[in-house]
């Protein structure tokens, strides 16, 4: 790589903004490490919050990206996306997995003991299974991206991709297992149902496809890749199909609670639909519907907005999945302060938001560097510096 290209990515305004946000995140994490998780708005009831939502979303994006990339080599209908699989595999394997892993690290009280999950593993814990899956995503993603690059460079035959594509596809489907952290808990009736794993897969595909639409649209504009409007719209429609499934799951959960009228599930749904959680629920529902409509747009701009709204809709689905359940425990009798069942709603603290923004920024930086250094575009001679919407041809 020439010095010129090095200069290009690291001095881009957007790169500097994300670098600064990463530093802000680091400062927030430092504060949290020194003063404790008391700086978050978590408590003994709402014990998981923004960090776990981030983990769920980015594990989903990683899985969905692997499924997108591998599908292009496994299914004829997806083969038109072969030129873009390197970007998808890289986004999934590096940016998202790093973000997902970091969201766990910042969530746990003793990050210096995180390696115990491997060294002293309790194999019956769904959290151990998640760790294995995340580790597998790193390895499979790197191998897949390398193999795709080798094929693109003409060093390998395209048919050599078949085995790794099957492995990647299956790995992507394993995102369903990440729902077991929630779905296997008898203590949590809202999560304790078989649709949870399928819903996690659908959410993963919506988040990943929507993010890919946004990335592809930006890179298309900058000239890094060349993707037609029809191809973008088709990804949008695929995301919409899975978002529709999510809408169905949300409405079904509401129907179960309301129809029952009273009992464990009903209390949670009443809290969510017309109780304290109602504003969050209605924002979620509106976001899903707006996302669904906009994802069918034929205009790239609207499609990108629709994709962003859809990612927000998935965020709200996960947000409410956590707080509606955790704030409505099975035993709600009044007790000493802090032990009176769930109280109020969950809003992340500024520290939590700062850390989360920092992690997402770091993931974005990794993707920007990768796009620039690895030449993942259709015309690999071109630089990503066009992210600032100026196309420059690299002097290689």
């Amino acid at each position: 790589m020439s010095d010129k290209s090095q200069k290009q990515v690291f001095t881009q305004p957007l790169f500097i903004v994300f670098a600064l946000l990463t530093v802000v995140g680091l400062v927030c994490w430092f504060l949290q490490l020194t003063r404790g998780l008391q700086l978050t708005n978590l408590n003994n009831y709402n014990t998981w919050g923004l960090y776990i939502i981030g983990f769920m979303i980015f594990t989903g994006i990683a899985a969905g990206s692997l499924i997108f990339a591998s599908s292009s080599y496994l299914f004829l209908g997806m083969s038109e996306y072969k030129p873009y699989t390197r970007i998808a595999a890289f986004v999934g394997a590096i940016g998202s997995v790093v973000a997902a892993g970091l969201f766990i690290i910042v969530d746990i009280g003793n990050p210096e003991r995180a390696w115990y999950i491997i060294a002293r593993a309790n194999i019956s814990s769904p959290m151990f299974w998640d760790t294995l899956i995340l580790g597998a995503y790193v390895i499979i993603g790197i191998l897949f991206t390398r193999q795709l690059m080798a094929v693109h460079a003409g060093q390998k035959e395209e048919k050599s991709l078949r085995a790794i594509s099957i492995v990647s596809f299956v790995a992507g489907l394993l995102v369903m297992v990440t729902s077991f952290v929630f779905a296997l808990q008898v203590a949590r009736p809202l999560w304790n149902n078989p649709v949870e794993s399928v819903s996690f897969l659908a959410a993963a595909l919506v988040a990943a496809f929507s993010l890919l639409v946004i990335i592809f649209a930006i890179l298309n504009k900058s000239g890094y890749i060349d993707i037609s409007q029809e191809k973008l719209s088709k990804i949008g429609k695929l995301a919409a199909a899975f978002l529709f499934f999510e809408l169905f799951v949300v409405l079904e959960e509401v129907a179960i609670g309301i129809y029952a009228g009273s009992g464990e599930e009903a209390e949670i749904i009443h809290w969510l639909v017309r109780g304290e959680g109602a504003p969050f629920f209605w924002v979620e529902l509106i976001a899903i519907v707006v996302g669904l409509v906009l994802l069918f747009s034929k205009k790239t701009g609207t499609l990108v907005v629709g994709s962003a709204v859809s990612i927000f809709a998935i965020f709200m689905i996960k947000y409410n999945l956590l707080q509606a359940q955790l704030l409505n425990p099975l035993i709600t009798y009044a007790g000493p302060p802090g032990y009176s069942g769930g109280e109020g709603v969950y809003l992340p603290s500024l520290i939590e938001i700062g850390v989360a923004v920092g992690i997402i920024s770091l993931g974005t930086l990794l993707i920007m560097i990768g796009l620039d250094r690895l030449g993942l575009g259709i015309k690999s001679g071109q630089s990503v510096s066009g992210l600032g919407f100026k196309t420059k041809v690299k002097q290689v």
Partner: protein
């Protein structure tokens, strides 16, 4: 030595809601501020110690809640590092502070919300430690909960909450021994276990 099944019996009809058991637990185990391993809940009222209903048709019922030391503990299965485990010899569910990574998976798994997390550095209302010198020191960033006062059991004493109950509503002992206090307390009486339908097989019996 034969395996025991340590259990607790709480007579809800005798409980007067005085919070003495909760205080004894707090002092004995030198619990940090804001942490309660054993707490007295008020059934029905909006706030703690408030009655159910409208005057004059009011009623008060208390329920003390601590770790249920389940035979099939959801927390033990969920913990990714085995920091929470069930002791073979007496069925007590323990928490190893040195292993706990602070992920709070066990808190999500527990149907009783019996577990507490040290969100801040343990602080105490007085500057010096109170309670038993044998109680395990508290740690930052880990989950903790009722231990059935294992440090007292090893000295052949009963848990702190049992001895202080002025209404004599609390009993403790080996469920497998027909002569133990708990076996005698439940014999011929109606009892419930909390959220028994969740399949956790709790070791706390509530006489009704």
């Amino acid at each position: 030595m034969a395996n025991k099944h340590q259990a607790m019996v709480i007579n809800l009809k005798r409980c007067i809601g005085c919070h003495t058991c909760a205080m004894a637990c707090k002092v004995e185990n030198n619990l940090p501020n804001h942490i309660w391993w054993n707490r007295v809940l008020t059934v029905g009222g909006e706030e703690m110690d408030t009655p159910q209903g409208t005057f004059p048709n009011i009623k008060m019922q208390y329920l003390t809640l601590n770790c249920q030391h389940c035979e099939n503990p959801a927390c033990v299965k969920a913990c990714p590092v085995g920091a929470t485990y069930k002791r073979e010899e007496d069925g007590i569910v323990m928490q190893d502070y040195d292993k706990c990574i602070g992920c709070r998976m066990c808190m999500v798994a527990c149907p009783y919300n019996a577990r507490s997390f040290n969100w801040s550095k343990p602080e105490y209302s007085v500057d010096f430690p109170v309670g038993s010198t044998d109680a395990a020191p508290h740690q930052y960033n880990v989950v903790e909960k009722c231990t059935f006062c294992t440090h007292r059991l090893s000295q052949d004493k009963k848990p702190a909450c049992i001895e202080v109950c002025p209404a004599r509503a609390r009993f403790f002992g080996d469920l497998d021994d027909p002569e133990s206090d708990v076996s005698k307390a439940i014999k011929g009486h109606n009892y419930v276990k909390m959220l028994e339908e969740k399949g956790t097989k709790p070791s706390i019996f509530y006489l009704t």
